[in-house]
Every structure is written in structure tokens, then in C-alpha cells.
């Protein structure tokens, strides 16, 4: 140290002033570093932890929901037969659920194209706090219920909160989306499969709400078809646009009659002819 041993009072005062300045700068620096780490932590939480939590919660909902179990294959079926009975498609007018109370989980959906994705619950309402962030897929209140004439419109997160519609871009025309209603009160439309197929996709501005009109994109028209519409964010990690998938009902079947062939790998859809049994069809 080259400092003089006998520091004058002025020297000491200057050193103290310097100490205060450096200390303040140091604390500000540490606060900024801390803020950066907290923001990084937020990204980890938003992009990873909400998925972990959401997937756990939604799997729990699907596991706990009260519903019928589709029947197993008949005992006479050979080893080559699928382990479950295949439901016969019905093309007559399907039974339709009454719209349930807000945040009620009334159905689940499965998308065979999204191999590895779990079955997702569908609940009434589309607000984030009570439905989309915690219950998975949400049904736009006031739009048609599954199977009904009109537009059964649902929303789901593309990223974060278990991202049920993350792989929406993989859907191709003709792909099945299988909706299965739960037992609820056991009335019409409960415990029913509704198999929809993709007819078109579009990218729209968030303000373009006509995509969920009873006749998609034509709010004044009278609906005649049984449509379904899936909406989610586009592009990923942004809320700038919406990615929309329109589907149309292919067939329906009671859960008690079996499982749709779309959900059974290697199974063929049996004909709607009541005289042909699924096992006779497959052999």
C-alpha cells in the first residue's frame, strides 16, 4: 500500500464517499442479477412446470371422472382380435348432452394422430383461470354440444399448462378426433362416442370469432351440419393469431356398444350393418 500512514480528514472523508458509491453500485448490480435469475426462473416455470403440473392434473381428472367402461372383446375372439369390442358406427341423429354448468368436465378427447398424447378432459367454459389453465380443453359456452347440429367449439393451450393442442399442425384432412362424453346424470348424450374428422384448417386474427359460429365463418347462416372446431394460439409462444381446425361428425356410438376402431391400433371400422359382427368382419 502506498497510502500515507497519516491520512488527513479530507482523505478519510473521500474514501468513505467512495465506499458509499461503490457499495450502492454493487447492490444495484446484485439486484439486477437477481432480477435476471428471477425472470429465468419464470421461464422455467411457465414453459416447463405448468406442463408438469397440468399433465398431472388432467390425467387425474380423466382417471377420476365417472363414466362407463367400453366392453371387452367377446371371449370367443382369437388371439389376433383386438382386446376390446369395436363399436359399430351409427349415422342416425345422435343423442346430445344438455350444456353443463361452468367448469364441469363433461367429455374427453383423443386424437390418434397425436401418438403419445394422453386423453384430455373437456370442460365447460374457456376462461383461463378456471378452465384452460387448470382443466385442459374448454368448450365455448353457447356453442353446440358434441354431436349436435351446429358447431361444437373447443379451445386449448398450444404451449404451457400441459399444452393439449400443441401438435395441432400435425392434423391432416380426414384425421379422426374422438370425443367421449362422461356419465354426468346418465341422460341423453352421456357415455357416447362422437367421431369427428378434420375437414379444413385456417389461421385467423384473434378478433375473428366467426370461426366458432354454428356455420363456421358464416354467422348468419342456418346450420345443417354437425361441426366441431378446435382453436388454439398461433404461432407457438405467441398470441398474435389463432390456428383453427374445423371438423365434421363422421359417426357416433354408445360407449356400451364398444370402442371406436379409430382408437384401436390395427382395427377396421365395422360396417354399420347390424347383421355383421366385428369379429366376422376382422377375420
Amino acid at each position: 500500500m502506498t497510502e500515507p500512514t497519516a491520512a488527513t480528514p479530507q482523505h478519510r472523508a473521500r474514501r468513505r464517499r467512495h465506499g458509499v458509491v461503490y457499495g450502492t453500485v454493487g447492490v444495484i448490480g446484485e439486484l439486477l442479477i437477481t432480477l435476471g435469475l428471477l425472470l429465468f426462473g419464470f421461464l422455467v416455470w411457465q414453459l416447463w412446470w405448468t406442463d408438469v403440473q397440468g399433465n398431472r392434473a388432467q390425467a387425474e381428472i380423466v382417471r377420476e371422472v365417472v363414466r362407463e367402461t367400453p366392453p371387452a372383446a367377446s371371449p370367443s375372439a382369437g388371439a389376433t382380435e383386438p382386446a376390446v369390442k369395436i363399436a359399430k358406427p351409427r349415422h342416425d341423429a345422435p343423442p346430445v348432452l344438455a350444456e353443463p354448468k361452468h367448469a364441469t368436465t363433461f367429455a374427453t378427447m383423443q386424437v390418434p394422430r397425436w401418438d403419445g398424447e394422453p386423453e384430455r378432459p373437456i370442460s365447460e367454459g374457456t376462461d383461463k383461470a378456471t378452465v384452460l389453465d387448470v382443466l385442459g380443453v374448454g368448450h365455448y359456452e353457447g356453442t353446440a354440444m358434441p354431436g349436435d347440429i351446429g358447431n361444437f367449439a373447443v379451445a386449448g393451450h398450444r404451449t404451457t399448462y400441459a399444452k393439449p393442442f400443441n401438435r395441432i399442425l400435425e392434423l391432416k384432412k380426414g384425421d379422426p378426433v374422438v370425443v367421449r362424453t362422461v356419465t354426468l346424470d346418465g341422460g341423453p348424450g352421456t357415455d357416447t362416442w362422437y367421431v369427428y374428422r378434420v375437414v379444413s384448417t385456417q389461421v385467423v386474427a384473434p378478433t375473428q370469432v366467426d370461426v366458432i359460429a354454428p356455420v363456421p365463418n358464416d354467422p348468419s347462416a342456418k346450420p345443417t351440419k354437425r361441426m366441431m372446431t378446435m382453436t388454439t394460439c398461433h404461432p407457438m409462444f405467441s398470441a398474435r393469431e389463432r390456428f383453427i381446425v374445423h371438423l365434421e361428425l363422421d359417426y357416433w356410438a354408445p360407449v356400451s356398444s364398444g370402442t371406436p376402431a379409430e382408437l384401436v391400433p390395427g382395427a377396421k371400422t365395422p360396417s354399420a350393418d347390424p347383421t355383421s359382427t366385428p369379429s366376422a368382419k376382422d377375420s
Binding site: G26, V27, E30, L31, L38, G41, F42, W45, Q46, W49, T126, D127, K128, A129, L132, Y140, A155, H157, R158, T160, P206, T207, V209, V211, I212, T231, T232, C233, F237, S238, A239, R242
Partner: protein, 52 residues
Amino acid sequence: MYGWLWRHLPGPTAVRVLISAILVALVVVACFTWLYPAIAPYMPFNETTVGE
């Protein structure tokens, strides 16, 4: 700030490191449980619902 904290932690270096790690873990848990869920609705990329 952190220097002050470090000087006021008791025990030898190993114990101080352990206490620091526990404190950091507590802060992370508190953020994941309360802070981040509370601020998430105000993030611009979370305006996701159509038609609102």
C-alpha cells in the same frame, strides 16, 4: 447485499454453503407456488382466449 448475507451466516464455510442452498431452494419454491402464478396473467403471450 449477498456479501452482507454471507458475513452474517453462522458457522464454517460448509455450513454457510448449506444454509445458502436451502435459502435459494425456499425462494424458488415460493416463486413457483405464489409469485409466478400471480404474475403470469399479466404476460402479453398469455392473452390466449379467442373472442374476449
